[in-house]
């Protein structure tokens, strides 16, 4: 869990992140979890950039979103990473990274 075996350090500049970021299925799964946690209706429009705080999440909601993501994807999110997850895209990217590391460690 949370192994230090990292791939190449990303040289991508921030403005490319959106295009090279996590797969749509991952983003969609994260959106589902967020909608459930925040009791949003199924047709609520979320975008990858949607910030949890803007969707009405307080810090307890954010912890619970992280816990739900951990359970769903079988990962462990370190506290300092958890603090940095403020949007759906950021969550999806982190999960991608952690799942990728799990895969390499296996």
């Amino acid at each position: 869990m949370g192994t230090t075996r990292r791939g190449l350090v990303s040289q991508r500049s921030p403005r490319f992140r959106v295009f090279c970021a996590a797969k749509p299925e991952m983003v969609s799964k994260v959106m589902g979890i967020v909608k459930q946690q925040l009791a949003l209706s199924d047709d609520a429009t979320l975008t990858p950039e949607s910030k949890f705080a803007d969707l009405g999440a307080d810090s307890l909601d954010t912890v619970e979103i992280v816990m739900a993501l951990e359970e769903e994807f079988k990962i462990t999110v370190e506290e300092d990473n958890a603090q940095n997850i403020t949007s759906i895209q950021e969550a999806a990217d982190l999960i991608d990274k952690l799942v990728g590391e799990e895969g390499k460690a296996a």
Partner: protein, 379 residues
């Protein structure tokens, strides 16, 4: 990891740059408020609701003031300290210092933090007097609300006094640093976001009195475990005062729930959402920028006041105020607030457990405190 994972801290709070190699923050119950909202809200109680408190004046006289103890029946700090007018004084002081030598540094850190908090009493009396409808309009008002506030303040005043004198005599702490911390704290004040609103204010005090009773009860237990029965009795006596005060404030909110269930349940939910800030959240000693967080971390690790305690208090108040059964007179928003509150404690407990589990994986870190001459404790 922080149990404040339950809550985020605003920049001016203790959530400062981490010291451990994992850059993980300590768990603690210092349930600090989420990042401050942009505008400061003031006088959020609609003026016509001040009438509720006017109408409760008779009730306050009957049901609140009797919870105060007559001064003649009250304990005083002297009851727990060497008698300075006696020729036994030096002997008693030596005995106190011998007992004090057996208490660990981390317990002193918590005792000092608690003492500093109690010594900032001017801030708390001020805070209550910011509340519309119940403030002491003259400084000697005969209105039962004002009588309550002054007498409450007077009872509380002994808490800081007894702890101050005990710590001074113990020889175990750097009193000058402690005194500076007190001066800084009184100068800083506190902002519990009660918006001059007595509904919010009395929810805050209900929670806070219980929290402080838990905390002093635990320091009493630890003092006893380390062989200082006198200190244990002093802390236990302080805790008993706090419990009695908690009873009083909870009764006020109970009345508000009876008279204005919708307004009251919305107020409880609002304060829980905003989180109950610790009174000493602006604590500083001029040395450690992370002082309050460090103090809170030690309190967490010692089990004096923890994230779980916070969840337990939420649960207690929900039961005490019978929120699960609250039905009549609720708006849609009120029902949502009630449901939020009824579900809150288990969620907080889960988050606290997670934070504690993650903290266990961290290396314990050493934190030095100016209060104990820069000696270090583990947190």
């Amino acid at each position: 990891m922080q149990a404040h994972a339950i809550v985020r801290a605003p920049a001016h709070h203790h959530h400062l740059p981490p010291l451990s190699r994992h850059h993980c923050r300590p768990v603690s119950a210092a349930a600090v408020a989420p990042p401050p909202t942009q505008r400061r809200v003031t006088h959020s109680m609609p003026p016509e609701k001040a009438e509720v408190f006017r109408s409760l004046q008779g009730w306050a006289t009957q049901s609140l003031l009797p919870l105060l103890k007559p001064v003649e029946d009250c304990w005083q700090p002297t009851d727990f300290l060497p008698d300075s007018s006696s020729e036994m004084f030096e002997h008693e002081a030596r005995e106190l210092r011998a007992r004090a030598a057996g208490l660990p540094d981390e317990l002193y850190v918590v005792l000092v933090g608690d003492m500093v908090t109690e010594e900032a009493l001017p801030t708390y009396q001020t805070m209550i007097n910011t509340l519309d409808g119940v403030r002491d309009e003259t400084g000697a008002s005969a209105c039962p609300w004002a009588v309550w506030t002054r007498s409450w303040t007077a009872e509380e005043n002994r808490h800081g006094d007894v702890l101050n004198k005990y710590l001074y005599l113990s020889g175990r702490v750097d009193m000058r640093m402690v005194e500076k911390t007190v001066q800084f704290l009184i100068g800083s004040g506190m902002d519990p976001r009660t918006e001059n609103n007595p509904y919010l204010g009395f929810v805050y005090t209900s929670f806070q009195e219980r929290a402080t009773a838990v905390s002093h009860g635990n320091t009493a237990r630890l003092a006893k475990a380390h062989g200082d029965d006198t200190l244990a009795r002093a802390c236990g006596t302080i805790a008993a005062d706090e419990k009695r005060h908690e009873t009083a404030y909870a009764r006020i909110v109970e009345q508000l729930l009876r008279l204005d269930p919708d307004g009251a349940v919305l107020a409880v939910a609002d304060m829980m959402r905003k989180r109950i800030t610790m009174p000493a959240h602006l604590m500083r000693d001029g040395r450690d920028p992370g002082l309050f967080g460090h103090f809170a971390a030690v309190a967490q690790r010692l089990g004096v006041y923890t994230a779980r305690d916070y969840a337990d208090i939420v649960e207690f108040l929900v039961k005490r105020w019978k929120l699960e059964a609250l039905e009549g007179g609720l708006s849609g928003e009120g029902r949502r607030a009630r449901d939020y509150l009824c579900g809150l404690a288990p969620r907080m407990r889960r988050a606290a457990e997670r934070a504690e589990d993650m903290a266990k994986k961290d290396e314990p870190r050493k934190i030095k405190f100016s209060w104990i001459f820069d000696r270090e404790v583990v947190a």
